[in-house]
């Protein structure tokens, strides 16, 4: 944006939308994966764990490159998507969701897995002994007991999604009013000398991040009284 232009709010709304959707999707996929990693042993488990953690560790452009190859128009996944939805996945805002997902999910899986593993096993046993099916055990006992730490992790994942830059840029691009998320918009504003727009966006995103952090901290302190474990 050249200096002096009024602030374009689209990137902020886009980022909020992308972060929300990717966090919800990450929760759905992440909880399942976390439960499997926490409760089941099988060959290749450590490999799965490594694969889930990898996106957190790879440089963003490297991850972006892999995703481009995986989801690009020439790839099988890309072709399938285009066939199903009538347009390519790459360089759309949906691609920005995918980009965020690759960071949110590992964060959630790690947190949720730790939460599941730290649960006192006697709750599970008690529930089963009292006649609960595995599903009922999960919904009525396990999930409520890990709810707070999972929500805290989701909040952090949301904040992380809000700020994604490298991967989003590579697979969603920087198309104004289409795929320009707030981090990219800030970068653009700084590059283009539009200091005012940059500052406003930075302040707003900072405020959001701080609010989320406070919320996450509140959630992780003191759930059901003095101790969360039995007794």
């Amino acid at each position: 944006m050249p200096p002096g232009t009024p602030i374009d709010w689209f990137p902020l709304w886009l980022s909020l939308r992308v972060a929300s959707i990717s966090t919800i999707l990450a929760l759905a996929a992440g909880l399942g994966l976390a439960w499997i990693l926490a409760n089941r042993t099988f060959r290749g488990k450590e490999l799965l764990d490594a694969a889930v953690t990898l996106p957190l560790v790879l440089p963003p452009t490297v991850l972006g490159y892999y995703l481009l190859v995986l989801l690009g128009r020439a790839s099988p996944v890309g072709k399938l998507y285009e066939w199903l939805f009538g347009g390519p996945l790459v360089f759309t805002w949906q691609a920005a969701v995918v980009a965020s997902l690759f960071h949110s999910t590992p964060l959630l899986v790690k947190s949720a897995r730790a939460a599941f593993e730290s649960l006192d096993r006697s709750y599970e046993r008690a529930a089963r002994n009292l006649g609960a099916t595995e599903l009922r055990l999960f919904w009525r006992v396990t999930l409520p007991l890990v709810r707070r730490s999972v929500l805290a992790a989701a909040a952090i994942a949301f904040a992380r999604s809000l700020g994604d830059f490298g991967v989003t840029l590579m697979i969603a691009g920087n198309i104004p009013d289409r795929t320009q998320t707030v981090s990219i918009a800030i970068y653009d504003a700084v590059e283009g000398g539009n200091g005012f727009a940059a500052r406003v966006l930075v302040l707003i995103v900072s405020a959001i991040a701080l609010t989320i952090l406070t919320l996450a901290n509140r959630l992780t302190s003191n759930p059901f009284g003095p101790r969360q474990t039995a007794l």
């Binding site: 006697s122 046993r125 008690a126 002994n129 006649g131």
Partner: protein, 356 residues
């Protein structure tokens, strides 16, 4: 009625020495106690019956229904076994109120009677006033009552209790014993209880099974087990006896007498059938079966001179610990002068010597 034959092996690994459980026992109506020290395999046995752990081999039958059969590959899920389980830490769901904990357990009952059942249980266990509170907001006794109520609400065919008295102060324990007796009377559910506390055995058990290192080493009523431990290991486990190494010196079946040698002294006892002269055996005698007096001249018959090492005051008795690993307990106040007296005589009751 439960019949269990359980074999489970945990091979030794980098972090554990390994463990082998190989136990067979039956428990009929009433209260059966699995007694043993920590690590004997008692909780593992309970968990196998509840279905939390799958044995390697064996068979578990509850009222003629097969819960587990290693040979046939049958392993019933915990939810189907109808075994009430009272956990050591109660395992009340912390995010639910006491009422909701009971409602969770009642969910298998038809919807119509559910609410009434829960209310009844709350009343029976004196929890109505705190039903709306969460576990962390109620007292230890209330949590305990709630965990038992929760286990009973599904009308289980057996109640399994894992060291329920552990960590309870004296009044809570007494309350718990009373409650268990009234549960037994009112519900009639057979109970299998795990403990390392001898008093609990006496207070509660109709039958007990003594376990050691994963095996059942003796069974019977508490009185029988305590008076006649099967071997020296059981006697040691009970923790009630002086256990002294002695040698059989002479046997006289005609006069129903024998002589045992302890240190340099001879003790007279009854005839011990099945023993030979020269056998190294263990003499077991309770601290309150021995009498003491300050040493005054040579020891007489069945008396052993000892040196007083320390005295321990107990609430109602005084325990005197002597050299040679001999302990004597006397009612408080029955011995006038103790301080300063180091040399004593311990007298063994000749008619009542028992050996293992």
């Amino acid at each position: 009625m439960i019949q269990a034959k359980i074999r489970k092996q945990y091979p030794p690994g980098p972090e554990s020495a390994g463990f082998s459980l190989d136990i067979e026992f039956r428990a009929a109506a009433g209260v059966t106690v699995l007694f043993g020290s920590s690590g004997a395999g008692k909780t593992l046995t309970l968990d196998s019956i509840a279905g939390f752990v799958r044995p390697d081999e064996g068979r578990i039958l509850l009222d003629d229904q097969i819960l587990f059969d290693g040979a046939a590959g049958v392993h019933m899920a915990p939810r189907a076994r109808q075994c009430g389980y009272v956990f050591q830490n109660y395992a009340l769901f912390p995010h639910m109120t006491l009422r909701e904990n009971l409602e969770f357990a009642a969910e298998r009952a038809p919807r119509l009677g559910r609410h009434r059942k829960v209310t009844e249980m709350l009343e029976k266990f004196h929890l109505s006033e705190v039903a709306g509170r969460r576990p962390y907001q109620v007292s230890g006794g209330q949590k305990q009552r709630c965990s038992i109520a929760r286990a009973l609400i599904g009308a289980p065919r057996i109640l399994l209790l894992d060291e329920p008295g552990r960590g309870l102060d004296a009044p809570l324990r007494a309350e718990f014993y009373a409650m268990l007796r009234s549960v037994r009377q009112e519900f009639g559910t057979p109970m299998l209880l795990v403990t390392h506390d001898t008093e609990e055995c006496f207070q509660l058990a109709d039958e007990m099974v003594v376990m050691r290192e994963g095996r059942a080493v003796q069974g019977g009523t508490p009185r029988k087990v305590f008076d006649q431990p099967a071997n020296v290991d059981v006697a040691r486990l009970l923790g009630l006896y002086n256990i002294l190494p002695v040698e059989v010196r002479s046997l006289d079946p005609g006069r129903n007498s024998s002589r045992l040698r302890f240190q340099d002294f001879e003790l007279a006892g009854p005839y011990f059938p099945g023993r030979l002269i020269g056998d190294q055996v263990w003499l077991y005698v309770r601290p309150d079966e021995l009498s003491v007096a300050p040493r005054n001249g040579r020891p007489a018959f069945n008396q052993v001179p000892v040196t007083l090492l320390r005295t321990v005051e107990k609430p109602e008795r005084l325990r005197l610990e002597f050299s040679g690993d001999i302990a004597v307990e006397v009612p408080f106040g029955s011995i006038e002068k103790i301080s300063g007296v180091k040399e004593w005589i311990v007298e063994f009751p000749s008619g009542d010597l028992r050996i293992l």
